[in-house]
């Protein structure tokens, strides 16, 4: 049977483009512009989906994406909505969650057991015995759930886009368009989005009974089209509102990250169902859905209809149905007084019977239970309850329900807006507006067309004024006139309990009563216990009735009952739209390519990539590391230390600044000399260390730890502000390359590349010299981090690789080899140098780290000094000590962070360990209770498996305690 109507003005289908698609294996034809549900309904395919729990036949309900009755899947995509999915050639879909197809879904048997499936069934039935839950779950997964994921499917690419505008208008209906035009006329850059493919909103599908409506829509679109600063995007869902008007826009293929300066929510209303027996049968639909079928898709919804009415819109629906050739058997109006406007006269004039003060008590199913066969109507008593004794049957094959609306304003809620219940409309209207966000039109409780447009204009001007683009007078919000657009309680009990409140979750009225009896009397608890609004349609057509039911059960007001929280996204979004790359900052030193070529294993150090060690054929990782370390001890090694923070501090207050930032003293430091710098935070905790080189009276060059440099420099800048000092701080970390050449042969190798006299007397330990190395201006710093004779070379980044290769070439005969971070860690551990952040934690003070020597005496002030003065009056609770293990350990050695145990008490923890060292025995650094920290003491470390391993406390450094080698 073809239900398609003659072509009509404003239809969204393109009659010239016929498409063939398949549903449940059967081929159908439709027109381009059809959605799946409209194309199927045109062929009188009424059962288009099955419900989640009872597998009841379901079909078109809102035809606007407000319900989730029709969910289909193709091989590639799942969770496609029948009322949003455009038909096209080759579309081949089937309904989700059926056995044996949507027409005769065998899982419908669950309905037979519906009395055994009370609200909270899952919570009650399957929690015991626990061991059986996996079985129950497995069985339930087979019957529940919505569709299957094709794990072999292609993953479609989902691009991300960015957009910006002054005003984002959500909804291209009369209010949205009027608002966009008003704002654009004030010069705002406006982006209008609508989840429907075509603009117009209610003007598009209600025009049939609004005089001049189509003309009005054309005028609005013409005016908008004439303004270059309005962009209109159909088929786009404004899915989520985030801070500062960041809005996620979702269309078929992409997520657009929109940054607006203001937002106008003109997204209208969702029509709300009435709750009566069998209100879910295919053929029962919202009045707006019937209108959409007629006006947008030119499909005749029914042959004969009963209209359930409680507002003016129902009468427009009636006239549209009549216009489409539907025999309207009756208008059943819940209101005792009925419709008082001109519309009722028009309807009455057509001869349609109007039953005021009546309700549909039940939709009557056909024998196959797959469609409506009639309506059982009965009068309502004064208290609103059905008088079932006087019920009459009316034959019909469709029921259009138009009893009320609810604002469709997810973005308003997400932005922090609040609603109040308005008795003159019997629905929620905005009461508290978030900053920079405006609501207009039906979403704002303004229902009549001229008022909607006036309200849109008002909101557009308000947004312009908010942005300072409009200084004129902003009109007032139009007042609501006439009877309420919504019925306060369109909900009717029935003993057979097939009167559904939530179609997604198959919740009927009694479920709410039972949940309430069990104590779930708060809307949020009710939601979670009953699963109200937790299905794919997110309560768009169920929450309002749920709130009304709970308010009545609690005998309280709608306002006191409240509403549940609206969270992004407004509609389910394919995960691919949200998934995407995360961006990680990554830094490479100028010698990176060399390291990679030398087969270095690279590791992250903060944001930097550094060589962990250099792979050598036939050697395991630990052998490579140990060999690199031995080569430093015996010959010469070179390490890339370009990741160090390299900071320049200059100016008249430079000395005073350093004295405040670091614990040490710098006033008497001579030019050409360097000192150790230890920095604490205000609590006296060590935060960084490095060397402080004096280049001139008022100019210093300092290094900071690789991972701490950015934060340390940041803090330096802040202190300079707070101290109001005349210093210039430059972070040269990225401008400079740095390398450390260390080992007994380092002087010889370096000397061959520079004229600066490197002899010990001329350039002693802790000296700083400007130099030219391999033709490049360099700063030479004589340091001893690894405990050998060594020099750091700081050169411009661009020349880093040149100097590095020059060193490697010059050192070939001397046995030079590069070494990585791991070898350096081992060498410095042998030398007893701590690493901030490795051997110190968030509470470590200099005294604990045995670094009191680094604190200048009688300093008037340094950051952390006052706190340390307090700390130092208290007994020390731990000290950083060296531990030596047996050269031939019988079992596993401890790992970092494993605990030192004494009489079952925790007395310390390993901070660094070297299972192998150049000294021939394992060694470690650890915190230890001071009374146990005397050199020579034995301590027990608990290792993996719980065994205790003995270690001996030794005085650090382990290696070269006389410093003969570094001072050579």
């Amino acid at each position: 049977m073809d239900r398609r109507l003659e072509p009509r003005a404003g239809e969204w289908i393109d009659r010239d483009r016929r498409v063939e698609f398949r549903f449940e294996g059967t081929a159908y034809t439709g027109f381009a512009g059809d959605v799946l549900s409209s194309a199927l309904w045109a062929h009188d395919v009424r059962v288009q989906g099955r419900s989640f729990k009872y597998h009841r036949p379901r079909s078109i309900y809102s035809l606007a994406g407000h319900d989730a009755n029709v969910i289909v899947e193709s091989g590639e995509h799942t969770n496609l909505r029948g009322d949003l999915l455009q038909v096209r050639d080759e579309l081949d879909v089937r309904a989700v969650n059926t056995i044996g197809g949507v027409q005769r879904d065998r899982l419908n048997v669950t309905e037979k057991f519906s009395r055994l499936l009370p609200v909270g069934f899952y919570y009650k039935a399957f929690y015991t015995p626990r061991r059986l839950f996996p079985f129950f779950e497995n069985q339930m997964r087979k019957v529940a759930g919505l569709g299957k994921i094709n794990v072999h499917g292609r993953c479609p690419a989902s691009p991300k886009d960015y957009a910006f505008c002054d005003l984002a208008v959500v909804g291209a209906g009369p209010a949205g368009l009027a608002g966009a035009i008003a704002a654009a006329e004030q010069g705002l850059d406006v982006l209008v989005v609508d989840d429907q493919r075509h603009p117009g909103g209610s003007l598009a599908w209600q025009t049939g009974s609004v005089p001049g409506g189509r003309q009005l829509l054309r005028e609005l679109l013409d005016r908008a089209g004439a303004l270059d600063n309005i962009r209109l995007q159909g088929g786009t869902q404004a899915g989520g509102w985030y801070t500062d008007h960041w809005i996620g826009l979702v269309d078929d293929c992409r997520l657009t990250k929109l940054r607006a300066r203001t937002t106008l929510v003109a997204s209208g209303v969702c029509e709300q169902p009435a709750v009566f027996q069998h209100n879910d049968l295919p053929g029962v639909m919202l009045g707006s859905a019937a209108q959409r079928l007629i006006q947008l898709y030119s499909v005749r919804p029914f042959d004969s209809a009963v209209v359930l009415a409680a507002n003016r819109d129902a009468y427009r629906v009636t006239l549209d149905l009549l216009d489409a050739g539907v025999a309207v058997a009756a208008v059943v109006d819940l209101r005792p007084e009925g419709e008082t406007s001109e519309l009722s006269v028009q309807v009455a004039a057509t001869g349609v019977a109007i039953y005021n003060g009546h309700t549909i008590y039940s939709a009557l199913p056909a024998a196959n239970r797959n469609r409506v066969d009639g309506a059982l109507i009965c009068p309502l008593a004064a208290d609103g309850s059905p008088v079932t004794g006087s019920a009459t049957e009316i034959d019909c094959d469709g029921i259009a329900v138009s009893v009320g609306w609810a604002p469709n304003v997810p973005l308003f809620y997400q932005a922090g807006g609040r609603m109040r219940y308005d008795e003159s409309r019997h629905q929620f209207v905005p009461s508290e507006m978030p900053s920079g966000l405006f609501v207009a039109g039906r979403a704002n409780g303004i229902y009549e067309l001229p008022d909607q447009i006036a309200d849109g204009r008002r909101a557009g001007l308000t947004a312009s004024a908010y942005l300072g683009c409009f200084t004129g007078e902003v009109p007032e919000v139009p007042t609501h006139r006439g009877p309420p657009p919504s019925h306060p309680y369109p909900i009717f009990a029935h003993p057979e309990k097939k009167n559904f409140v939530d179609l997604d979750e198959d919740l009927h009225l009694a479920d709410f009563v039972h949940a309430h009896q069990e104590g779930y009397d708060n809307i949020e608890l009710m939601k979670r216990y009953s699963t109200l609004g937790m299905g794919p349609s997110q309560g768009k057509i169920s929450n309002m009735n749920g709130v009304r039911i709970l308010a009545r059960l609690n005998d309280t007001t709608i306002d006191a009952t409240g509403s549940t929280t609206s969270r992004p996204f407004y509609q389910p979004v394919p995960m691919g739209h949200l998934a995407g790359r995360r961006f990680h900052p990554l830094r490479r030193t100028p010698m990176h390519a060399w390291h990679v070529q030398a087969d270095a294993e690279m590791m992250y150090a903060g944001t930097w990539l550094r060589p962990e060690y250099y792979r050598a054929d036939g050697h395991a990782r630990n052998e490579c590391i140990l060999n690199e370390a031995r080569n430093v001890r015996n010959n010469v090694g070179v390490i890339d230390v370009g990741t160090l923070g390299k900071l320049e501090i200059s100016g008249p207050d430079a000395v005073e600044f350093l004295e405040r930032i670091y614990t040490g003293r710098f006033a008497k430091q001579t030019v050409g000399q360097l000192r150790y710098g230890l920095a604490c935070d205000e609590t006296g905790v060590i935060i960084d260390d490095g060397i402080v080189a004096r280049l001139a009276d008022d100019r210093f060059y300092v290094t900071a730890t690789s991972s701490g440099a950015a934060a340390f420099f940041r803090e330096m800048q802040r202190w300079a502000l707070i101290f109001q000092m005349d210093v210039t701080l430059v972070n040269s970390t990225g401008h400079l390359a740095a390398m450390n050449i260390a080992g007994p042969n380092s002087r010889e190798v370096l000397q061959s590349l520079t004229d600066v006299d490197l002899a010990g007397a001329a350039f002693p330990y802790l000296g700083v010299r400007p130099a030219v190395v391999a033709g490049v201006a360099a700063l030479l710093i004589r340091v001893g981090f690894v405990g050998e004779l060594g020099y750091e070379l700081h050169v411009p980044a661009a020349q880093g690789l040149h100097v590095w290769t020059a060193l490697c070439d010059a050192g070939q005969h001397a046995g030079i080899r590069p070494f990585g971070v791991e070898a350096q860690r081992l060498l410095r551990l042998e030398k007893g140098h701590l690493i901030v952040g490795q051997d110190t934690d968030a509470l470590t003070t200099p005294s604990e780290a045995d670094m009191s020597w680094a604190i200048g005496k009688k300093k008037p002030f340094f950051v952390g000094g006052r706190a340390l003065a307090i700390q130092n009056r208290k007994p020390l609770t731990r000290r950083l000590v060296g531990l030596a293990f047996s050269a031939d350990p019988a079992g596993p050695l401890p790992k970092e962070c494993q605990l030192i145990i004494n009489n079952q008490d925790i007395v310390g923890r390993i901070t660094s360990i070297a299972p192998q060292s150049t000294l021939g025995y394992p060694l470690a650094m650890s915190f230890l209770r001071p009374d146990l920290a005397e050199p020579g003491n034995d301590v027990q470390v608990k290792v993996d498996g719980g065994r205790l391993v003995t270690a001996k406390v030794v005085k650090m450094p382990f290696y070269d305690p006389e410093n003969a080698r570094q001072n050579a």
């Binding site: 996620g248 940041r714 502000l721 006052r866």
Partner: protein, 129 residues
């Protein structure tokens, strides 16, 4: 939403709530200690030098606190200064750092509504009172 990391600035990543994914982020690099940009934070903060910029470019520096005179303050006063922060809902003066340009600034922020009332340079503070 950013949690004040107190005096351990820079040592631990600031904890952030992810507005896109309920329940927070799962990020393997984050777990490995590799810094990540939290691309899901969408707030805009106005740097007095560089204008409105995305919040990812900024580092939170905690509440503006006035240091008592180190030698006059009692131990208790000093401990109060060093350890205590004011978390109760109010408009707070906070340090923020615009990382790409290295600019410290002061933001007056309502920590209840997360609304920034104004931002200005530390030096300009005196003029604004």
């Amino acid at each position: 939403m950013i949690v004040d990391c107190g005096s351990q600035i820079g040592k631990y990543p600031c904890v952030s709530m992810d507005p896109l994914i309920d329940g927070g982020i799962i990020d393997d690099n984050y777990a490995r200690g590799i810094p990540t940009t939290d691309s899901t934070q969408v707030k805009i903060l106005t740097c007095p030098v560089n204008g409105p910029r995305p919040i990812q470019e900024f580092h939170f520096g905690g509440e503006v606190r006035d240091m008592p005179a180190p030698h006059d303050a009692s131990d208790d006063q000093w401990a109060e200064y060093v350890f205590n922060r004011h978390g109760e809902p109010a408009v707070r003066r906070e340090w923020w750092y615009h990382t790409p340009s290295g600019t410290w600034l002061i933001a007056e922020r309502n920590n209840c509504t997360d609304e920034v009332l104004r931002t200005y340079l530390f030096d300009a503070e005196a003029e604004h009172g």
